[in-house]
């Protein structure tokens, strides 16, 4: 475990393999909620929080439950249940104790359960940082760090896109590409520009 590894994960998760623009995870929420900056910011912070926490939780489940009992084939089903339960719990806690916060991003929480980015990162972590059923050194920290970076990458794409779409509201866009098609074309050009970080090394 060294700084280079962390930097590589950072650059890769935020730019080169950006969750949305390159791995296409969380694309539905990206297209649906990026119409304005404010909700986009709220959604991104909710996703950042949930991804980070679920990376940690699923690592523990995978390492101490699924591997010892030889249940790795239950990975998908157990991960999605744990994530759903966790999101439900967060929603209840926030609604009870932080009503102001709940009003800002509470409505996005149920959507996050079926956000592919969350499950995607959990699965990716268990693929990348485990080898033949054994955790690689520092895999817990790396998993959490990857969760944070993916969340940052999600927030970056989301924020840029929402500001762009706010501006496109005022454009005389051809009728047939209004909304979704244009959002995809814009995302394509963004993804093209992020390719500038290809082949990064320190």
């Amino acid at each position: 475990m060294n700084v280079g590894q962390f930097l590589a994960i950072f650059i890769s998760s935020v730019f080169v393999s950006n969750v949305i623009l390159s791995r296409f995870l969380g694309l539905c929420s990206f297209i649906a909620i990026s119409k304005e900056t404010r909700p986009a910011l709220a959604m991104s912070s909710a996703v950042l929080f949930v991804i980070t926490m679920s990376s940690a939780i699923t690592w523990v489940i995978y390492r101490y439950l699924l591997i010892p009992f030889d249940l790795a084939y239950l990975r998908t089903i157990s991960f999605i249940l744990v994530i759903a339960a966790f999101v439900q719990l967060v929603e209840m806690v926030i609604r009870k104790f932080m009503p102001a916060l709940y009003r800002v991003f509470g409505i996005y929480l149920p959507l996050i359960t079926v956000n592919c980015a969350v499950l995607g990162v959990a699965v990716l972590n268990s693929d990348m940082f485990f080898s033949k059923g054994r955790p690689l050194p520092g895999s817990f920290q790396l998993s959490i760090f990857q969760g944070i970076c993916v969340g940052i990458g999600y927030a970056l794409a989301m924020l840029l896109m929402s500001a762009i779409r706010e501006r496109l509201e005022y454009s005389r866009v051809p009728e047939s590409v209004r909304e979704f098609p244009l959002a995809f074309v814009t995302a394509s050009l963004m993804s093209l520009s992020f390719m500038g970080f290809n082949g990064f090394k320190f």
Binding site: I31, L182, A187
Partner: protein
């Protein structure tokens, strides 16, 4: 509604990809080649049909409040079956599709059909709906992947079509996927606009 109609609507009028814009993540990610796309289409159809059938059968047993978690468990079970079968019989395809197979669980299309259709319709109708949506999904995937494989690699199902053609590599990369889907959605909008 009659069964053939339930089946056919998924293919064109309510095509999950082009009309409903559902379940796009795997569409964009695995459409680099037609063979990958067909594999993904088959897996998604299997999950869709299986979960639609079971959910339609258990819809009266499941309490309303916890129906979503129950649906997810049913879907995840079928996804796990698909994953294990694929790993056993076609490891190359499994490697190519990677994390996008487990991610069928959170595909909005599957859960969307379960919630919007199978949970309130009879068994046979849900079966037809699952088959139709699956077929529409597979067809859409096949269409997008043939465009991308043709432009990005100059091939179709692995065969070179035009020897002198210099393929535009970008079409095989992520930006190409986003561009193709954006253009196709725009094209379908244009057709819809013409009709009205």
């Amino acid at each position: 509604m009659k069964l053939p109609a339930e089946f056919l609507k998924g293919i064109i009028r309510q095509n999950p990809i082009f009309v409903l814009a559902l379940g796009l993540c795997p569409v964009l990610a695995v459409s680099t080649s037609v063979s990958n796309a067909l594999g993904m289409g088959a897996a998604a159809t299997f999950v869709l049909v299986g979960s639609n059938c079971i959910i339609s059968l258990i819809k009266n047993v499941v309490p309303d409040k916890i129906r979503i978690p129950c649906f997810i468990v049913v879907i995840a079970t079928f996804v796990t079956i698909a994953e294990l079968v694929m790993r056993a019989y076609s490891p190359a395809l499994n490697r190519a599709l990677g994390i996008y197979v487990p991610l069928i669980v959170v595909n909005c299309m599957v859960l969307g059909r379960a919630e919007a259709f199978a949970s309130r319709r009879p068994f046979l109708g849900s079966l037809a709906d699952g088959l139709g949506m699956g077929a529409g999904f597979t067809l859409g995937l096949a269409l997008i992947s043939s465009i991308r494989e043709l432009l990005g690699a100059g091939k179709l199902l692995g065969y070179t079509l035009f020897p002198g053609f210099k393929p535009a590599l970008m079409m095989a990369l992520p930006p190409g996927a986003l561009l193709v889907i954006g253009m196709m959605l725009g094209f379908f909008n244009l057709l819809k606009g013409r009709k009205e």
